[in-house]
Symmetry: C2
Subunit: 207 residues, 2 copies
């Protein structure tokens, strides 16, 4: 990607999101938001958009207030901040990250042998220093994930890998858990945490 | 996985298949078949099963003829050989690996902005040294892959990464090409080259 004059910031600490954005060919920096997340919505796709926007907005505001404008003398210089948030949803319940082994077991047990949804919300905040225009764009992607039946032993064996604790829904689709994923419908990378295809298409429209 | 007394051989040179099998927790060795592949079928799901079987059978035969049986004195010692073959299918045409840049362009151009199918055939040949029984099992998995529209520039930029040449259909879903994949339906790892979830379920039934 031609990133001349385009500064891209990923407002997320997730190593998986960082890896996906890098793999897509983008040059970017990571600046993590320290905003207190406030959830005012209840539907999963509204929640992820809301949280993605809060994270991106926090970093965007901070950067614009810190930037020394005198350094920017090139045409079409843009600053783009990308925020993201992912949740797992099953039977109308939103699952975040499990607090402990018991919660991890409950989550995985509630997901096995059926189809659940993974939602990632993305917020893109873009400032063009020549035109002084801000573009705000947010969207979400949904992926259906269907799991094979799992025995208690299989669930505990997976939990023992330690892979479950930093992940919404207590599983990571890209690791050892893959043996339980019967099929998905939607964007695979959306389940990993960043719908990179849709993000690329949206960024193309902005720049 | 408990691989005591279970010798597993992957009959494939693909580093991606090796990585997926390892990630699933299996202990195994790689022994590549040097059989001359003979295609007698025409439907893609028949072709991949046929080729997977030929590769696995070649390695299975060779190993059984070479093994020093006197070393095997444990109960339930088993030898399992896994063969795999992947093709991409679009508009009733089977796409293998592209020979050159022009063919890569033609392939990707024929895939963009529509849905195509990826088929991986798997053959499992299993010999139990106690019961002296051979189990032969083969199956295929199909995944639908839908791509966004791609410009000629995007196709050539991707070809220039060199990622396309060793891959059926001239693309690798797990690399930079991910930005063009709108959605899939089925097993993601089946597109990478090994339907690891189904393979795990089938191996569980055998052992």
């Amino acid at each position: 990607m031609d990133n001349k004059n385009k500064k891209i910031i990923l407002a997320s600490a997730s190593p998986r999101r960082k890896e996906l954005l890098k793999q897509a060919g983008y040059d970017f920096d990571v600046i993590v938001s320290n905003v207190e997340e406030v959830i005012t919505k209840s539907l999963p796709w509204e929640v992820v958009e809301e949280l993605a926007y809060q994270k991106a907005k926090d970093v965007f505001r901070r950067l614009l207030s810190e930037i020394d404008y005198s350094f920017i003398n090139e045409d079409d210089y843009t600053l783009t901040v990308i925020g993201a948030d992912t949740v797992v949803s099953v039977d109308d319940k939103i699952l975040g990250k499990p607090a402990d082994k018991n919660e991890a077991y409950e989550m995985i047990h509630s997901l096995q042998n059926k189809t659940h949804q993974v939602y990632t919300g993305i917020a893109i905040l873009d400032y063009n220093f020549s035109t002084r225009k801000t573009v705000e764009k947010y969207f979400y992607e949904k992926t259906d994930v269907t799991l094979f039946p799992m025995t208690s032993e299989e669930i505990y064996d997976y939990i023992d890998t330690g892979d479950c604790y930093d992940k919404a829904g207590a599983y990571g689709i890209q690791g050892q858990f893959a043996i339980f994923v019967r099929e998905i419908q939607g964007d695979y990378n959306n389940v990993v945490g960043l719908p990179i295809a849709r993000l690329y298409q949206e960024l193309k429209k902005i720049h």
